[in-house]
């Protein structure tokens, strides 16, 4: 009995020392890069688990007319400040063009009229801000997948990057420009649309006129407003902070499904 409890004691001491050493090693790793490496490991686990549970096609909940929230909060930019955007707005976006380029077979530009002439999808969905609030709205737009099929993707294509007209932080180098990225699984998801209408009207400036992204299985910061260009790339390491988006460069997760 004594022998057993001694070996147990030894086991406990050894275990405690081992755990302490692991904790110290973890702490050292934390100190070296602000803790991001260890803490960020959870993001991959979350993304893989959610993708396993969702599959490619699982749809976000769609609501009925009566569920639409009375006010839809405007967040982030409320009005891009560039002269270019001001001119486009003055012309009611007649001169606005959405560029699709990068790893595509046929780079193209679409006018708002071109997009509105294409088969559309309307969906009433819930927008969840990373801060915690939610709002429900009805969105109408072109499925991104159909546009990508029309321009043809090259085999190396992996991500769609959305370049926007707004700048959240005024910076000289342009790193304060809003941009976002999603992978091709989300890009070809049936509810991923480029919306030009909200609640039955043309998109208001506060909500991203003339065109914004809706990726319904992810948080609000993925729903890029004021779209100007979609670039298809194989890696976002060369883009600004290298993390795939404006908020991602400021510490937020690239996978925004939670």
């Amino acid at each position: 009995m004594t022998k057993i409890s001694l070996s147990r004691r030894r086991f406990m001491i050894g275990g405690t020392l081992g755990a302490a050493a692991a904790a110290l090693a973890g702490y050292e790793a934390l100190k070296q890069d602000d803790g991001t490496t260890v803490l960020r490991s959870a993001e991959q686990l979350t993304m893989r688990t959610q993708r396993l549970l969702q599959g490619r096609g699982a749809l976000a909940r769609e609501f009925s007319e009566s569920d639409i929230s009375p006010s839809f909060r405007v967040n982030g930019s409320t009005m891009p400040e560039s002269d270019e955007y001001a001119a486009l707005l003055d012309g009611k976006f007649a001169d606005w063009r959405l560029k699709i380029d990068g790893l595509v077979s046929q780079p193209r530009e679409f006018s708002l009229a071109d997009l509105k002439a294409l088969p559309a999808r309307t969906q009433i969905t819930r927008h969840d801000c990373v801060e915690g609030w939610s709002a429900i709205g009805r969105w109408t737009g072109v499925p991104l997948g159909s546009l990508l099929r029309s321009v043809g993707l090259k085999p190396a294509a992996r991500f769609a990057v959305f370049h926007c007209a707004d700048e959240l932080e005024k910076t000289l180098d342009g790193s304060g420009r809003y941009y976002e990225s999603i992978d091709l699984i989300d890009a070809f998801h049936p509810q991923t649309i480029l919306a030009y209408a909200m609640n039955g009207k043309d998109l208001a400036v506060g909500h991203g006129a003339p065109l914004r992204l809706r990726v319904e299985r992810q948080l609000g910061y993925k729903q890029a407003k004021y779209l100007m260009r979609i670039e298809i790339i194989d890696s976002f390491s060369g883009l600004w902070g290298g993390n795939g988006g404006y908020w991602e460069d400021r510490g937020y997760e690239w996978y925004a499904g939670i």
């Binding site: 006010s71 939610s134 939670i258």
Partner: protein
């Protein structure tokens, strides 16, 4: 809590024996749980600070009716903090709504000394929260698997025959209220109030935290739409998450008070080494 007697001790009063109370799995998962829940709570308060209002139903943002608001407003002598719930507003300046951060009165729901990280940083708060949420779920799965397979739940936590009768429950409540804790043979097993409380926490509150947390995830809502219906909406789930966390904090406060009142050293030893001292009663003593 196997009550196998380990050995008589020479250096204790006559009749004191050590029993093996907690298995190594129970002890390790218990302390990992302490770590996880502490970090989850403090990083959760950081996340809450990003939008310190709670709503009921499918949606809720500024301007929608809130069931709870922790806010700040301009007062005569600078900013004042308040908590508003069910139409009642109470001043909480200095703690909730407005607190001192780096020497300045600052508008923030929970004060810097209660949040991870201390400064306002939602991105980092979320990193801590989700990392330890995984840790907590894996630790919980180990504990649940062990509890079922080893018979720990059936043997130690399931209330015994007759323990659930009104008279027995009333007797336990009265004894607890008088802070009379079981001695001798009775102390070998959990009493019925302990059993019920631990079962409510293990099978109720902790799974509720996980489920309401998952319901706030748009990705999980697409994968398991039934979750949104279960809680009547994403914003209801967020509110239930907050209420359940408050109940867990209440449980921890009572739990720690009971640990201290019923013998801090003995209880701590049993949760660290597994051994718990009891005084034998009856003819053997």
């Amino acid at each position: 809590m196997s009550d196998e007697t380990i050995r008589h001790t020479g250096d204790r009063p006559a009749g004191t024996i050590l029993i093996r109370r907690h298995s190594v799995v129970t002890r390790v998962t218990h302390w990992l749980n302490v770590l996880c829940l502490a970090i989850l709570l403090l990083s959760g308060l950081q996340i809450f600070n990003a939008h310190p209002e709670l709503y009921w139903g499918q949606y809720g943002a500024d301007g929608d009716p809130a069931v709870l608001t922790i806010g700040s407003a301009d007062g005569k002598d600078g900013p004042r903090g308040f908590v508003r719930a069910a139409g009642i507003e109470i001043p909480t300046t200095g703690f909730l709504g407005v607190s001192t951060f780096e020497g300045e009165p600052t508008a923030r729901a929970f004060p810097a000394w209660l949040t991870i990280p201390s400064y306002q940083d939602l991105a980092t708060g979320r990193r801590w929260h989700f990392f330890f949420a995984w840790f907590f779920v894996i630790n919980g799965a180990v504990y649940l698997g062990f509890g079922i397979l080893s018979g720990h739940f059936r043997r130690d936590l399931a209330p015994g025959r007759g323990q659930l009768s009104a008279s027995c429950l009333w007797h336990e409540i009265v004894t607890h209220a008088r802070l009379r804790f079981p001695h001798g043979e009775e102390a070998r097993h959990y009493n019925v109030l302990q059993k019920l409380t631990y079962l409510v926490v293990i099978a109720g509150l902790l799974p509720m935290m996980v489920l309401t947390g998952l319901t706030m995830s748009p990705g999980i809502d697409a994968a398991v739409p039934a979750l949104v219906d279960l809680f009547g909406g994403r914003q209801s789930a967020r509110t239930v998450h907050f209420i359940t966390a408050s109940l867990l904090v209440t449980f921890v406060l009572v739990h720690v008070a009971m640990v201290v009142l019923s013998g801090a050293a003995n209880n701590m030893r049993s949760m660290i080494t597994g051994r718990y001292a009891i005084r034998e009663s009856g003819p053997k003593a």
